[in-house]
Symmetry: D2
Subunit: 134 residues, 4 copies
Amino acid sequence: MDRVYNSFARQGMMTTLGARILSVEPGTVTISVPITPDVSQQQGFAHAALAFAIGDSAAGYSALSVMPEDTEVVTSEIKIHLLSPAIGESLIARGRVVKPGRRLVVVTSEVFAVRNGTEKQIALLTGTMVPVPV
Amino acid sequence: MDRVYNSFARQGMMTTLGARILSVEPGTVTISVPITPDVSQQQGFAHAALAFAIGDSAAGYSALSVMPEDTEVVTSEIKIHLLSPAIGESLIARGRVVKPGRRLVVVTSEVFAVRNGTEKQIALLTGTMVPVPV
Amino acid sequence: MDRVYNSFARQGMMTTLGARILSVEPGTVTISVPITPDVSQQQGFAHAALAFAIGDSAAGYSALSVMPEDTEVVTSEIKIHLLSPAIGESLIARGRVVKPGRRLVVVTSEVFAVRNGTEKQIALLTGTMVPVPV
Amino acid sequence: MDRVYNSFARQGMMTTLGARILSVEPGTVTISVPITPDVSQQQGFAHAALAFAIGDSAAGYSALSVMPEDTEVVTSEIKIHLLSPAIGESLIARGRVVKPGRRLVVVTSEVFAVRNGTEKQIALLTGTMVPVPV
């Protein structure tokens, strides 16, 4: 699972947002990110792009975790439903492989806002990841 | 159209990414953002979340531009197709209202990478915006 | 739950396809449909539109099952992932409410092909249902 | 373009619905289908699955029209926005390739209801088609 951490470390966007990997298991990856005023939308909640960023990454790395070596994955398409305002101290995204494949991997992520230690789901993503040579 | 600029100015995420509004017309809004190492993915191209961030905002503000006063919009759901690697100096998103409505507004955005002055489409978004009271 | 059955009975498309409701519980509805040559695609498997038809209906009726009386629901948008060829005697769709709401209901459906008594998931849908007055 | 017509002719679902191809050009295919009580939803309008069926087929065949010979295409995923009630004598779907590719083709379809000779857009689809060997 080193390659998931290595790939993640090369993502400038994840560093800029302060995201980090909480866990990597075959077919499922968890990522968290703090909510700060730097990533707000106009009402002061976390921007949809924050939930997207870690939801997409958790989904993509869950796909990578079941891929052959010498492979990277890129997002082909992904849809996000915003379920509730993203209010709290941090967001946590849990990505999961729905259907592995040699040419396409269908993935999903659930994103939760953590507020005073309590999780509430704020987004649901489903998408398609495509393997590419490193 | 002041409220589009006012709402945009309150988005910490847009400031963090260095995004700015290029134009606001009724039903269509254009936003650009620089591509820097701070927003890269693992291959060095711009992260999907960058295209998402300005694509979603351009789509949302195109919806707001046709809304009654004293309304904000939030994204209900949006899907992004990543068409090509996001390589260049900047991204430009052109959002547009497909179908206005009192309860829902269907929107689309096309996102282009600008490289040496030439635009290439790198993403396509379609989504649903929902009006909320300010 | 009578109104779910009543509404379903008015859908000419469901009659044409031979679909029927297997169960209705608050927030979850199950629908099945036979696979016949009349609903094939070019390779002889069930057409994507068959999985869509019952996946969309199961999701929509799961939303209706948690709505106030004197309400119908219509699909605002829905996305389907086709995971495997739809081969077998019938399809079964299990719809479920992900996030209820007064103005929007986010829903999902899983669709399974039944072959010799064994179920295999062949599609995943996520979408948005909107209540409308009857 | 014979293979588009040949593949279409093998789709039992298209025959059942009474759909037919109006035109095939490289990268764009148009399909129409009559609206009858047999394909209604609960309010008497055409069912979302009807718009989906021809929207998906028009998009898929637009992808096939730019593929190498000895290839079929299958839908990987597709999203439909329902914009207006489908009222009229028939539906027309115009599919178009957004981004061709060897492994994936991104496509879109616009679906129109024809009523007394006037077209009104009632649905918008965007999706991903995947080539498979014949």
